[in-house]
């Protein structure tokens, strides 16, 4: 399964994060150079650095969406080897396992709806929808084409059951201290799943200024993705059918981030990042459809494969702050985002780390997110009207707000830190958009998610 692959973002963020963190820790080292392996007297006042250490950080994410939708388990192991000159190599391995149901894009209706998809080629080992409990094999009338058919109950969001996929990814980053104030990083990412692969490379530079109170950085990356839908790539805006579709599609992402981090005063570190990227190529979801409904009754007339533009320019500005408030540490950030598809968004995030004992802290977290809809977002299309060039009912491209409430706990244990975080995520959108025809006005057309996640992790350093 795929959608919204974004390896470039990950690679760039990682590169910038590594540079900023390295320089930041360098400032720490100059104040109090304590190796991480010696136990800190207080986990909340730990000023040790990773110089000359190897750090292993392993964690696992358990993610569950309400209503029997996507469920994911994602273990990660990251190993960073540091020398005594400020150079480091990081290798990160990720494995994703996803199961569950995902909305197919059709609008709910008062009656049972029937959907048809191609069947995987005999003998081909894929793990997609074939395991579904509610699918039946049918022969397309008038042909000898075998197809899979499934249904959605009345007044229920149509979902495609039985999605199952596995992803494996490796990230590699090398960070080099050129001199006392300059650094460069080079890295790459390879991610592969049954129907998608992504390959990216990145390069970044940074420099300390102003007596190491200011750090400027820049990073670029290039990502190449290949979409390999299980049954081929459908022609956008054509009718959903059981016939096998076209070949693979590709897209390219070119991304750049420019950042400034600044020590404001003894208690306050601020960071400002500007991010711009251009996505070119296939960005449509090959599995997603959109309902074409009657303009009078609202009843579904047919289902079309969705269509998205092949070009997207994205820009964002991020302003982050770390502030020491007595024994606590506040993390407050804001992001504004704009793209050429017409989506504008605002993100506000705040977390407060509060010491509980000398070996334990808790960190409550709140996040608010709001976005406008893409200019080609439609809950449904109306039969008899001219078809637009682009149309998608994907709720991620619609207007909604989302809130996250979470709590993190960290405990000093053995040679490292055991950490856990539980979060609840809730999207709210327009369930009953104005103008919905006929009985469609009574249906809930918003297909956003409610999810809970739990992360458990352990990080330790050794010589």
């Amino acid at each position: 399964m795929q959608l919204t692959p974004d390896a470039t973002k990950g690679a760039l963020r990682a590169a910038l994060g590594a540079m900023t963190a390295a320089l930041f820790l360098a400032t720490g080292a100059s104040a109090q150079d304590t190796p991480a392996s010696s136990k800190p007297a207080d986990i909340n006042d730990d000023t040790s650095t990773d110089t000359s250490l190897t750090r292993v950080d392993s964690a696992v994410l358990f993610y569950q969406e309400a209503g029997g939708r996507v469920q994911a388990t994602e273990p990660v192991v990251s190993v960073t080897m540091n020398d005594d000159s400020g150079n480091s190599i990081n290798v990160k391995l990720t494995a994703d396992t996803l199961t569950g149901a995902t909305p197919n894009g059709a609008a709910p209706w008062t009656g049972t709806q029937t959907f048809i998809t191609p069947v995987k080629t005999a003998g081909v080992q894929t793990t997609t929808t074939s395991a579904s409990g509610n699918k039946v094999l049918v022969t397309v009338p008038g042909t000898n084409i075998k197809a899979a058919q499934y249904t959605a109950d009345p007044n229920t969001l149509p979902v495609d059951h039985g999605f199952r996929d596995q992803r494996y990814a490796v990230d590699l980053n090398y960070s080099v201290a050129v001199d006392n104030v300059s650094r460069f990083t080079i890295g790459g990412n390879l991610s592969t799943e049954h129907d998608y692969s992504s390959l990216s490379g990145n390069f970044g530079v940074s420099r300390d200024l102003n007596d190491r109170n200011t750090t400027i950085s820049a990073a670029v990356s290039v990502e190449m993705d290949t979409s390999k839908p299980y049954f081929g790539t459908p022609e956008p805006m054509t009718a959903m059918s059981g016939a096998t579709k076209g070949g693979n599609r590709t897209k390219t992402v070119v991304d750049a981030v420019f950042g400034v981090s600044q020590v404001v005063n003894r208690y306050w570190l601020a960071q400002l990042d500007y991010n711009i990227d251009q996505v070119s190529g296939y960005q449509t979801d090959p599995y997603r459809i959109i309902s074409v409904v009657s303009g009078t009754t609202g009843a579904p007339v047919r289902y079309l494969y969705e269509s998205r533009p092949t070009s997207r320019l994205r820009q964002s500005l991020y302003f982050g702050n770390k502030i020491a408030l007595g024994p606590t540490v506040a993390d407050a950030s804001m992001r504004v985002y704009h793209d050429s598809w017409g989506i504008n968004s605002l993100t506000l995030d705040v977390a407060e780390r509060v010491p509980v004992t000398r070996w334990m802290y808790v960190e409550p977290h709140l996040r608010y997110y709001s976005q406008t809809k893409a200019n080609f977002f439609h809950d449904y299309l109306v039969s008899g009207q001219a078809l637009p060039a682009f149309a998608s009912s994907d709720s991620r491209l619609g207007k909604f707000t989302a809130t996250t409430v979470g709590l993190k706990v960290g405990v000093h244990m053995g040679p490292g830190e055991l950490y856990a975080r539980a979060e609840s995520y809730d999207q709210k959108g327009t369930s009953h958009p104005a103008g919905a025809p006929g009985a469609l006005a009574q249906e809930n057309l918003f297909s956003g998610v409610k999810a809970t996640s739990v992360v458990l992790g352990y990080s330790f350093g050794f010589w």
């Binding site: 919204t4 692959p5 974004d6 973002k9 690679a11 963020r13 910038l16 994060g17 720490g28 109090q32 909340n44 730990d46 000023t47 964690a59 993610y63 994911a72 990660v76 990251s78 990720t94 996803l98 995902t102 990814a169 991610s191 109170n213 200011t214 400034v260 600044q262 005063n265 003894r266 990042d273 500007y274 994205r314 964002s316 500005l317 991020y318 982050g320 770390k322 020491a324 540490v329 950030s333 804001m334 504004v336 985002y337 704009h338 793209d339 504008n344 968004s345 993100t347 997110y369 976005q371 406008t372 991620r396 491209l397 993190k408 950490y419 995520y425 998610v449 999810a451 992360v455 992790g457």
Partner: protein, 79 residues
């Protein structure tokens, strides 16, 4: 929040950020002996890269926006 408001806010923050970067940085900062609090591991921009990676991974697979800061999880297979 209406889209044009967010667009205006975007432009305002860009302008303010550029102005601050150009004029303000040189006058801010601390001496090396005043970095005791900044040197805490808890004051690092990203204290738990894996947590930040998971977080970014979830958000870019469930929302229409991406970018910002932190370290995301790479190529996505999450929805």
């Amino acid at each position: 929040m209406p889209g044009d408001m967010i667009t205006r806010l975007f432009r305002l923050v860009v302008a303010a950020g550029v102005a601050a970067a150009l004029s303000g940085c040189a006058s801010m900062g601390v001496k090396p002996w005043d970095r005791d609090l900044l040197a805490r591991r808890s004051m690092a921009p990203v204290t738990h890269p894996n947590l930040t990676g998971f977080e970014q991974h979830i958000y870019f697979s469930k929302e229409g926006s991406s970018g910002g800061s932190g370290s995301a999880g790479g190529g996505c297979g999450c929805n």
